[in-house]
Symmetry: C2
């Protein structure tokens, strides 16, 4: 499976994605699920993908116009007037790819399904974040639903729900997502290191800091080990269960 | 859906289960998913259920011999020589019920599926904990896998993995499970209060403390609110993400 998160705060957007793909537990490999495009000063776009790898790669290849010779390419993903139109384009392309690949031609429950988180900013607009479904439609993040997760999202969700604050700076969001990813990776084999991180600062109109955390990353290890201890300490400080263990019924 | 946990520690067993059942989000009700039986001084048995309510209730009714007039009942669930045999009986009964109800007669992926967590102790043996599948087979908890979850298990799993210690006393396990349940209830509508708690102390051969947490339970509220703050504090104390937000690629 996969775990990807896109999160919106006042200061910008933070994206994180794992890199494990598998065709069965005996056939795993590392593939980045994060793609970015930019025209500095004009737009920045980041796309996170989950689902069938052939479907999502094919969608991205079409968005990049790789069917055309390199010198003639004018990637449609960089030519939309707004983030809304960009999301529409990604959704339509995804739906078409699935329709072409699926035995039934339209089933969204097909094994060839996929979904995306799309975020970015185009000059004149504000930073926007979308979740795009295999049916081609999409929803947008806002103050009430400031983040999207795709893939194996349940393990890492409680910590985001309890800790998220729209005033967080991007570094704190990165820290939060490292905790969320580490909780997921410890619980589920289908999500694995390395993980990719991408910052986007509001109104910068260019890609921000990017980092890959691998097994040896000292910050990742510090958080992973530190969080277990912090949780235990926090747990110990909660009030004890008030009833004695004696039988009393 | 459902969330149930059975957990084994040196001092005994702790069981916790939610009470929400639903046939769609517009049709929910409260039903306990925890059943206990005992012959004080001889045996104590606790069964937690998930899945189709007709299937699990029917299984329990058969185990209690409710097909027979009350005065002639000699419930088979209380007549097994060992916990292993008890698990076998529950598994066989469950499999039979599913086979009788399912359109195909044997499919485990049927909508009429169910599963159980079974724990307890019979004189002469030690406390044992099993997870019973709809196929009728089962696995047992041990030092490497000291707990079982059924139903909506993912949200509440990371905290158990990081905090469990076999030397915990039963009260600390209850506190841990309250945190795990609260994380799940905050993330998923299909799991809801009230939740049932049952202690079993090793070698007591009788049911221990039992409690139902509802919306107004002061300890539940204390933990639910306190844990959010504790998590935030623990999070703040983790080392900050070391890279500046400036663009550096």
């Amino acid at each position: 499976m996969t775990y990807c998160v896109g999160l919106l705060v006042d200061r910008g957007l933070v994206f994180m994605s794992d890199t494990r793909t598998n065709a069965g537990v005996d056939n795993i490999s590392v593939v980045s699920k994060m793609r970015t495009w930019e025209v500095p000063g004009e737009r920045f776009i980041c796309l996170l993908s989950a689902g069938n790898l052939a479907t999502t790669q094919s969608t991205i290849s079409i968005l990049e116009e790789r069917r055309v010779e390199p010198e003639k390419r004018n990637p449609s993903i960089l030519n939309q007037p707004s983030m809304f139109q960009t999301a529409q384009l990604v959704g339509d392309t995804l739906k078409d790819v699935i329709a072409t690949t699926s035995p039934t031609g339209e089933s969204a429950s097909s094994r060839f399904t996929g979904s995306f988180i799309l975020g970015g900013q185009i000059k004149g607009g504000r930073p926007r974040l979308f979740m795009i479904y295999p049916e081609g439609n999409f929803i947008e993040a806002g103050p009430d639903n400031p983040f999207f997760q795709i893939g194996e999202h349940k393990y890492g969700r409680p910590i985001i729900i309890r800790t998220y604050d729209r005033a967080m700076d991007l570094g704190d969001v990165a820290k939060l997502l490292v905790v969320s990813f580490d909780s997921t990776i410890r619980s589920n084999l289908s999500v694995g290191l390395p993980i990719d991180l991408q910052f986007y600062e509001t109104d910068s109109l260019t890609g921000g800091y990017r980092h890959r955390f691998d097994q040896k990353d000292s910050y990742y290890r510090q958080i992973s080990e530190g969080w277990s201890q912090s949780l235990k300490d926090a747990f110990d400080e909660l009030p004890p269960f008030p009833h004695s263990v004696k039988r009393d019924r």
